[in-house]
């Protein structure tokens, strides 16, 4: 079987960060160009959405039309308002500033779940605040008077990257990506209880190593309208080729689609029809896969 990955944009000057399908187009972050842009598939054009983004990673749209973004360079989640301003959320947990948010999702209550791994690239400015001694899944919520507060949800992660809420919001899928050769990269499923806490995880997919080195694990994932999971995983260094993995909504591995253009980083569907899957690559381009 051959798969047609069509390059629709790029290569850009910067690595690509978060992506988000919104109103007929694909919003994407150019991390080090500090820009957010939008690709319009109807005519192939690209328009500017935001400048001075402070190195933006994961993106998600809220019900009120605002977009939440992981600002890697500022170690915070920010909320991009429709009027062009950008608001901060809480950045301190138990008095300490958290790490570098990488990926996020918003639940039906408007709570913002994010992964908070360490980063080799320091934040902007003087390094006054050390990283947390742990790397967790966190959740931003508003307190009774409307101030943001942070809850720490995971106590058994060391390098959480991509995260995804199941459609029923009863499971949180987490890509746990330690770079330690004695541990595997894992796709985990955490049950979410009625109070919003995470239970004991189960491992859906474990990525080990081969004679070429460690499998890189999952960098980014999304779900289709049926709740099936699509995950960008691997890299060009290991024997098990970089691929888009497809899992059932329960996490059963269904197939692996080889990705031929360097390392796939993040993916998202164009709307609800599950036909076009957009994929960003480490070659700084955006690809489109048309599914049957």
């Amino acid at each position: 079987m051959t798969w047609n990955f069509e390059c629709v944009a790029g290569p850009f000057n910067s690595e690509l960060g978060g992506i988000l399908w919104d109103e007929g187009g694909l919003i994407f972050s150019l991390i080090n160009e500090l820009k957010l842009q939008k690709f319009n598939p109807a005519n192939g054009s690209i328009s500017a959405l935001r400048s001075y983004t402070g190195r933006m990673n994961g993106l998600a749209k809220a019900k009120d039309g605002s977009i939440y973004a992981c600002q890697d360079g500022g170690r915070r989640v920010i909320q991009l308002q429709p009027d062009g301003s950008a608001n901060v959320t809480a950045t301190r947990f138990e008095g300490q500033i958290h790490n570098h948010p990488y990926d996020l999702c918003i639940d039906s209550k408007g709570h913002v779940w994010f992964s908070d791994p360490h980063s080799v690239t320091p934040a902007f400015g003087p390094q006054i605040f050390p990283p947390l001694p742990y790397a967790s899944i966190m959740r931003l919520e508003r307190d009774r008077v409307g101030h943001w507060i942070i809850k720490r949800l995971s106590f058994d992660t060391t390098a959480p990257k991509a995260i995804l809420l199941s459609s029923d919001e009863k499971t949180l899928f987490v890509a746990e990506n330690p770079t330690d050769e004695h541990r595997n990269r894992e796709l985990r499923a955490y049950p979410i209880d009625e109070d919003g806490n995470l239970g004991e995880f189960s491992v859906l997919h474990s990525f080990g190593k081969d004679h070429k080195g460690l499998h890189a694990g999952i960098h980014g994932m999304c779900k289709d309208s049926a709740g099936q999971i699509y995950a960008c995983a691997g890299d060009t260094k290991n024997a098990r080729q970089a691929a888009i993995y497809q899992y059932s909504s329960a996490g059963q591995l269904l197939r692996a689609i080889p990705f031929p253009h360097a390392t796939p980083i993040r993916c998202c569907f164009a709307g609800e029809n599950d036909k076009h899957l957009y994929i960003t690559s480490s070659d700084k381009s955006i690809y489109r896969l048309t599914l049957d």
């Binding site: 935001r50 402070g54 600002q71 500022g74 170690r75 608001n87 934040a123 400015g125 006054i128």
Partner: protein, 297 residues
């Protein structure tokens, strides 16, 4: 305090073993020092702690403002009012005599400032400040609205009547400290990211001629171009790697004051203006030199 002398003239302005007294500590990012000659006390801020402080010899420190919006550089205007580079307030603020705080500038050409960093008032009463964008990204010290609207990190001037804001330098990378020469014919502006001090000829109308590089900072120790002041002989004192760098009017590094904390800014003070108050992230220090600095207001 340890000093490093690179030219004999350095020892004309500082003793070989000058004092270094830690006068206050317990801050996260002390900055904005300015000496009040009327009351013999030092005002300064803690940017991350979001407070404004005062310190008086023999009395100690006291908070004068909580939740300051991470105020940064401060000086006095000609009526003895504190004027402040508001950082996360994204504005220039003034402490009024009735205890209120007013905004005296917040936009340029309809766009909100980045995050005003440091500030100086000249003898005619014009206010100059740097508008770097760090207050929109740096962890622990950002505004509520972190969107940047201006495409440059400029140096601005507010006319003495308070009516007109003009962009006087538009080609900086990250402007930070600024200080006039004693005769106010020159304005020195440093740039943190370029580790550089530039000098500009001040025109009679308060605008600036083209800049030229005055000094490139050197050193591998902790510390960056941040606060900057000039003494009465025209020597330039700039925070940098390892402490405070002293540069003569020709642009040559003549010595360093070694301070084993990350220095952020300085202010001349005491009756003879021969004390140099130095802010670091965590502390306020005082040292003495043998010539006066430049009186504030």
């Amino acid at each position: 305090m340890d000093i490093e002398s690179y030219a004999p003239e350095f020892l004309d302005i500082i003793d070989s073993h000058p004092p270094l007294v830690n006068i206050a500590q317990g801050f996260t990012f002390a900055e904005g020092p300015v000496w009040d000659k009327r009351t013999n006390q030092l005002f300064f801020v803690d940017i991350i702690g979001s407070k404004v402080w005062k310190w008086k010899p023999g009395v100690g420190k006291e908070t004068i403002l909580n939740s300051s919006g991470h105020m940064n550089g401060m000086t006095f205007d000609h009526q003895g009012r504190l004027v402040v580079a508001g950082w996360c307030n994204r504005a220039i603020l003034r402490f009024e005599k009735d205890g209120s705080i007013s905004t005296i500038a917040s936009h340029f050409e309809g766009k909100k400032f980045n995050s005003p960093n440091d500030i100086v008032v000249d003898s005619k009463g014009a206010t100059y400040w740097t508008d770097s964008a760090g207050g929109l990204v740096i962890p622990g010290m950002v505004a509520n609205d972190v969107q940047r609207y201006l495409d440059y990190q400029g140096v601005y001037r507010l006319s003495p009547d308070g009516k007109e804001v003009s962009l006087v330098i538009g080609d900086c990378t990250y402007p930070n400290g600024l200080a006039f020469s004693p005769d106010e014919k020159l304005l020195y502006v440093n740039d943190t990211l370029l580790a550089q001090i530039r000098v500009f000829d001040v025109k009679p109308d308060g605008s600036m001629g083209p800049g030229r590089v005055f000094h490139q900072l050197t050193g591998s120790e902790d510390g960056v171009a941040d606060g900057m002041k000039v003494d009465s002989k025209g020597n330039v004192y700039c925070t940098g790697p390892g402490g405070v760098h002293v540069i003569n009017p020709a642009g040559k590094l003549i010595g360093r004051m070694r301070i084993h904390e990350h220095c952020t800014n300085m202010a001349w003070g005491d009756d003879d203006w021969q004390s140099l108050y130095i802010t670091t992230f965590n502390s306020i220090y005082r040292t003495r030199i043998n010539i006066p600095g430049i009186e504030t207001w």
